[in-house]
């Protein structure tokens, strides 16, 4: 079915999903330090029903907070595939947008979007918590509207994503002499 007609149940479910988003933040690079202030008393994230979760199995949002090298990208893809359906990805900071200050380095990847579907980007070389909260509210609105369906895109053109990933990483699962 196309991306935006949704059954009545989907609509209600999206309402609920937007109200309680559980976040698995993949802290790489310098973005991780922005999260504690957004959770504690000044910018209280829990007001919106959001909270950090330890395992991808229970997480709704995969929150990638910085540059991704080839090695860490494999982990991100592996974790992304372990998350249950309606899952959303937020790219935090310019490094996920277009490689940021490491755009020309041999190790990092430039656009996160080629490898996993990103629903929302937050620009800024480490944006402040206010931007983070603004982004969360924006995401909630998108979910309510039914626009945040990156996971559907991933499912529909799965080969394209997989092909991009293999092109840049060689292959996701490494068999070398270190791992018998």
């Amino acid at each position: 079915m196309s991306t935006n007609e949704r059954s009545i149940w989907e609509k209600i479910a999206d309402q609920l999903r937007s109200k309680s988003l559980w976040m698995l933040h993949y802290c790489t690079g310098c973005g991780a330090i922005e999260l504690p202030p957004s959770m504690t008393s000044r910018f209280d994230m829990e007001r919106f029903g959001m909270g950090p979760m330890a395992t991808p199995r229970q997480a709704d949002i995969l929150f990638i907070t910085g540059y991704l090298s080839a090695k860490t990208l494999r982990r991100v893809i592996y974790t992304y595939e372990q998350m249950p359906e309606p899952k959303y990805v937020i790219g935090f900071g310019s490094c996920t947008l277009n490689g940021g200050i490491y755009y020309d380095s041999y190790a990092t990847i430039n656009r996160l979007d080629y490898y996993i579907p990103v629903d929302l980007y937050i620009a800024g070389c480490m944006p402040r918590p206010e931007a983070l909260l603004e982004a969360f509210n924006e995401l909630m609105r998108m979910i309510r509207k039914g626009e945040a369906n990156g996971w559907k895109r991933y499912k529909e053109n799965y080969e394209w994503y997989k092909q991009n990933q293999l092109r840049s990483l060689g292959e996701v699962f490494i068999h070398d002499e270190f791992h018998e």
């Binding site: 999903r17 309680s20 008393s41 209280d44 829990e46 029903g49 330890a54 249950p84």
Partner: protein, 293 residues
């Protein structure tokens, strides 16, 4: 007639349980000087979790969750809420405590069935913690049973004509409350679900629907534990006063857990078998000698 009462008990368990959990999160937030989620946040979380498409690790994983929820629902049905008693003659204290073990075993079996070692470590810790808090709790309760000469929970409640058992046997009350904290799995004693150490322990492989069912089971089990404490120690109460006492106990428990860090698992067992067990034996000695206020 009993069917109606059972449904009433289950519904109270569901609604009152979830609202109180929401209130607990609000109190926790207020203690940390922040606003905290709305009181109905837990309802949303449960329904959101139920609505997602998760993953399952084979038939034992599903059976474990069903057995857990089924066991706890069965236990809840037997617990008298004030004067609302689903099975008047049959609510024996040992039945409730051991039927509760069915739920615990079901969850343990399901989680370890998932094959993740974090889950096995979490379950091993949960069982050890259970060994820790169960013994002083049951000895204190046995003191009360011996004093009132009946082992049915509603009978115990009715027996507190003049003063509450909490004032009649204060040490027993304290021991039961400490064990209650252990049972609830709140902060000082939440080693099995330690998110930082073993990735939320048994719940590591629980995805959407199973997570929702388990949150339901968690609420029902909290409801069972506290209502047991309220029935036995806090005097006669009709339905409304029961809920009031329930909320007071729940708030005290949340306040304690809001400020305390987490025990290591050996410390939990050592603590429970040093302080509460000796207190329980002192209390039982008093009951034997008849020194009851």
């Amino acid at each position: 007639m009993t069917v109606l009462r059972v449904i009433a008990v289950l519904l109270t368990g569901f609604f009152v349980g979830l609202t109180l959990e929401g209130i607990a999160r609000k109190i926790m937030a207020r203690v940390q000087r922040r606003y905290g989620p709305p009181w109905y946040q837990n309802f949303i979380d449960v329904f959101k979790a139920l609505s997602k498409r998760g993953i399952s690790h084979g038939w034992i994983f599903d059976f474990g969750i069903l057995m857990a929820l089924g066991g706890v629902i069965a236990t809840l049905a037997f617990v008298p809420l004030g004067d609302l008693v689903a099975f008047p003659g049959l609510d024996n204290i040992f039945i409730i405590v051991y039927l509760f073990a069915v739920g615990a075993l079901g969850m343990a079996m399901g989680m370890v069935g998932s094959g993740n070692p974090n889950a096995s470590i979490g379950v091993a810790r949960a069982l050890t913690q259970m060994l820790g808090y169960e013994v002083p709790y049951l000895v204190a309760i046995a003191g009360v049973l011996y004093y009132y000469k009946t082992s049915s929970v509603s009978g115990l409640m009715m027996a507190q004509q003049d003063t509450w058992t909490l004032f009649k046997m204060p040490i027993g009350g304290i021991v039961a409350f400490i064990s209650l904290l252990g049972m609830l799995g709140k902060k000082p004693f939440d080693t099995p679900i330690a998110p930082a150490e073993i990735a939320s322990g048994p719940m590591v492989e629980l995805s959407a629907k199973y997570m929702g069912l388990l949150m339901l089971m968690h609420t029902f089990s909290i409801f069972v534990e506290i209502s047991l404490f309220v029935d036995i120690f806090l005097g006669i109460s009709n339905y409304l006063t029961f809920l009031l006492k329930f909320t007071v106990v729940w708030i005290i428990a949340t306040l304690i857990s809001a400020v305390l860090p987490r025990f290591r698992i050996e410390q939990v067992v050592k603590f429970y078998w040093k302080v509460p067990l000796s207190l329980a034996f002192v209390q039982v000695l008093f009951v034997l000698l008849g020194w009851v206020f």
